[in-house]
Symmetry: C2
Subunit: 232 residues, 2 copies
């Protein structure tokens, strides 16, 4: 136990490979020199020479930045700094089968926090057409067979809520989080759904206040909050 | 305008390089075969042969997975699948000088959503010692010179709030978001602070209800919500 504590307090030293070092140095350099999207990067051969490393190492480091969307190759102009898609690398690692238990729990809670905090954006931006579409979704889902947490329904209904927030990043984020959420819920032997249904929430959005919506969302998510309290 | 719409609707075809393709194929393969953290990966030379590509390309693709924390090299055992730190690649790209305007706006709002949604976790887990420490932070900050949004104070106070939520991922996430938030706020010519101060929030946490805390947080963040409504 003391050993485990030491391990978590002192942290593990992760040995850096040459590409790790060059990648990090490159990112620092781009920042120090205030590179902006569209600016051409130094040539691979010049970078290798200046850094005193092989071209293969530079190529590997640049390949990583390319994967992050920080660098792209333009016809005739060669490599330029790009405006990265901030969620694409996040998406790559969000796989419940490789993420640790604690992180899974954190992500589970993160979704609860987001849903409880969404009311302001939704109420600032929702339209009558949005609410009508949401209601249609909720009504259609009631015809399906009874199932407390069906990932397809959840993504459809809550995805529409996120869309109504007018925030694309948030919507994509939600789409990534739900499969993780689903995975955690499925580890529960028995899952009881909240008192407030998707249709109830849609009705509140039609006629109720921001505060009522938040209360409704809390009731809708309550089994998850209870679960969280149970587990501590 | 029609042209811009077309561009956004049809999307741009991004040409994939060989490392892009191999990286994506590798991730699929690991998923299909249900690799778990600790499982050894096939050898570089075997991967190259099976995929019919050069070893350099495989090395580049593996280097990317290594950067994402999905792969690590173990003494004697070679490369194994690892449990990635889901935020580390996110951290790499969160640089306000290269992120596009729309994404910056989305991140600005994301922080507001998180803060408004935090009440449940905080009230489920806060201790008297936590609240005392938070109050101390707020009192200490009042001695400093008057400044409406000082990133250091914001990180200190709101960071403690996130810590009280008992969610490490959320806390790290917040630490990454605040510099972006700061960057956006600084583009405002004039910034008026909310009616509710850090100290007021700490006092509510000491004696008030979850609902009062949420109302207080809304008032604290109100200038940001107003800004958001102004910009649409």
């Amino acid at each position: 136990m003391a050993n485990k504590e030491l391990k978590s307090d002192i942290g593990r030293i992760v040995q850096q490979t040459m590409p790790d070092i060059v990648e990090s140095r490159l990112r620092e350099y781009l920042k120090e020199k205030s590179f902006r999207p569209g600016d051409p990067l130094p040539k691979e051969v010049d970078l290798a020479e200046s850094l005193g490393v092989s071209r293969n190492v530079v190529r590997e480091a640049l390949s990583r930045l390319r994967m992050l969307g920080m660098v792209e190759t333009k016809k005739k102009r060669g490599m330029v700094l790009a405006s990265p898609d901030i969620l694409s690398s996040f998406e790559r690692v969000l796989d419940p089968s490789i993420i640790g238990e604690n992180t899974l729990k954190d992500i589970f809670e993160l979704r609860l926090v987001l849903e409880m905090g969404l009311a302001e954006l939704i109420y600032a931006r929702k339209t009558a057409a949005d609410v009508a579409e949401l209601k249609e979704i909720a009504l259609r889902q009631m015809d399906g067979k009874k199932d407390n947490f069906r990932i397809k329904n959840e993504i459809e209904f809550h995805g529409k809520l996120y869309e109504m927030s007018g925030n694309d990043t948030l919507k994509r984020f939600q789409n990534m989080l739900l499969p993780i959420f689903d995975y955690v819920v499925k580890t529960e032997p028995r899952f009881i759904s909240g008192k407030i249904s998707h249709l109830d929430l849609a009705n509140i959005l039609e006629r109720g206040s921001k505060e009522e919506f938040r209360e409704g969302m809390y009731e809708h998510l309550k089994p998850h909050f209870d679960r969280l309290k149970r587990l501590g």
